[in-house]
């Protein structure tokens, strides 16, 4: 364990509850940018991504760390705070990394027709989240929403798998926006 291990939630029941409500609001309103702060995350992990991990991931949820996020400080932090088994993308319940590092969406569990819920949730670290870019419609969205998506075509393919497919949380600094598989992705 490294000496610089940063703390998790100071008051887990309350902070996890607050964080979950923000994540839930984000997932229930695809494209809506929500605040998610309060955690000193190990670099290069954003505060928002660290909050999501502390809120949802534990010893029962295999986690894949991709690219630069697969480093000793993050691994130590995961081992200490979450106890999640670190796995490859094929077995991951959650995955963390930049869009490029995470690789093609198809390598993650997509769920089955009988159990579409058994699919991965990807936490995609972004430079910035903006309410502009691709036009989003579908459940959770009144009329339309906009979000700067890294690769609309790949995400459109994911949405076409519905009810199978992965769900995505975009994080940047202390912000989060979500893109469940149910969202229809239009043009920019």
């Amino acid at each position: 364990m490294t000496a610089q291990l940063t703390p998790g939630f100071a008051n887990p029941p309350i902070e996890a509850a607050h964080a979950f409500r923000q994540v839930l609001e984000a997932m229930a309103h695809p494209g809506r940018i929500m605040g998610l702060a309060g955690i000193a995350a190990p670099a290069p992990c954003s505060a928002a991504a660290a909050c999501v991990l502390l809120t949802l991931v534990d010893g029962t949820t295999p986690l894949h760390l991709a690219g630069a996020h697969d480093c000793a400080p993050v691994r130590d932090w995961v081992r200490f705070h979450l106890g999640a088994p670190l796995v490859g993308p094929q077995e991951a319940a959650f995955a963390l990394g930049t869009w490029d590092a995470l690789g093609p969406l198809a390598i993650y569990p997509q769920g089955s027709a009988e159990y579409p819920d058994r699919s991965a949730t990807l936490i995609v670290e972004c430079v910035a989240l903006q309410a502009s870019g691709a036009r989003l419609t579908g459940p959770g969205i009144k009329d339309a929403a906009w979000l700067n998506l890294p690769d609309p075509a790949a995400l459109r393919t994911n949405a076409a798998l519905f009810p199978r497919g992965v769900d995505i949380m975009f994080t940047s600094g202390a912000q989060i926006a979500a893109l469940p598989r149910s969202t229809q992705i239009g043009d920019a």
Binding site: P12, P13, I14, A16, A17, H18, F20, R21, V23, L24, E25, M27, A28, H29, T55, L56, V57, D58, T60, T61, A93, S112, A113, E114, Y115, P116, D117, S119, T121, G138, P139, G140, I141, K142, F162, P163, D167, P180, R181, S182
Partner: protein, 282 residues
């Protein structure tokens, strides 16, 4: 009660519930299996709803609990007290003032708003269960989107009764994909499910299922072109207390001679209207 964690459940259990809720939101109308826990109230008395509420609550929430539309029925009182004790949250009877509303068998009359969460207690989450008792079979039907059995059953109703003989727990289709049981709400409430600004979560504790309707989700009650769905309630009656024509009414027997009257099932809606009328009269 300091011996118990905030909102009663331990953190590992809440994480499990929260993961299931997010998947449910991502797949509207699909029933996500979750490992329901024994709660301090019996199965069948709202344990699914209680677990959902416990997983969602923050200390700043204002909680409303209704049963049959009323805040004052025994089970609603019991669940409201439970959360006031284990989560120290504020409680209310006013639909508009609540951030989370846990309900059994009704959707409030007052329109819900964005940011609110409506938590339904669900006894039998599987809409196909009464057509096919086996989970292995119904799971395949949902997977293949094979809902022929349901169509046949509804059409048999029409052939026999001239209409679909279902008064509550009337099945709906979510975003054109999953057929969903809306819990035993009267079909009068079905239109409120559609395009609702609030997040709607459904919890079935004994049956270990969570499902959800995100805000602004398309929800259609099953029907046929020549037999369109009609929400219904006591015909031609209005509430004897507040005079409402637009609310769902409970029938109350008033004497031994068969006398009866109708009153709003939503006690907050009724009381608010009575208060406004009293103010106007003053």
């Amino acid at each position: 009660m300091t011996a118990y964690n905030f909102a009663y459940l331990d953190e590992a259990t809440k994480r499990m519930l929260r993961r299931a809720i997010l998947k449910a939101v991502a797949i509207p109308g699909y029933q996500v299996p979750f490992s329901s826990r024994e709660m301090p109230m019996p199965y069948g008395w709202g344990t699914g709803g209680v677990q959902l509420t416990a997983a969602c609550l923050v200390p700043e929430d204002t909680l409303k609990v209704i049963d049959q539309g009323a805040d004052d029925t025994t089970n609603a009182v019991s669940i409201r007290k439970f959360f006031a004790r284990v989560a120290q949250v504020a409680t209310t009877e006013a639909t508009g003032a609540a951030s989370i509303i846990q309900t059994r068998h009704r959707i409030p009359e007052a329109p819900l708003q964005e940011g609110q969460i409506l938590v339904f207690q669900v006894p039998i989450p599987e809409p196909l269960r009464f057509l096919e008792p086996r989970e292995t079979e119904t799971r395949t039907m949902h997977a293949l989107e094979d809902y022929g059995l349901m169509q046949v059953r509804l059409y048999e109703d029409i052939a026999r009764h001239g209409e679909i003989a279902r008064a509550y727990a009337y099945p709906v289709r979510v975003e054109g994909r999953y057929i969903m049981d809306p819990s035993p709400i009267p079909k009068f409430d079905n239109p409120k499910l559609d395009n609702c600004p609030a997040l709607q979560l459904f919890g079935a504790g004994r049956e270990c299922r969570i499902y959800a309707l995100p805000p602004y989700t398309r929800v259609e009650s099953l029907d046929f072109e020549d037999y369109p769905f009609t929400p219904s309630k006591a015909a031609g009656q209005c509430c004897a207390l507040c005079g409402a024509m637009d609310s769902y009414l409970d029938e109350v027997i008033t004497d031994d001679a068969g006398g009866r009257m109708f009153v709003c099932s939503d006690t907050d809606y009724c009381a608010t209207r009575v208060a406004v009328q009293a103010e106007d009269a003053a």
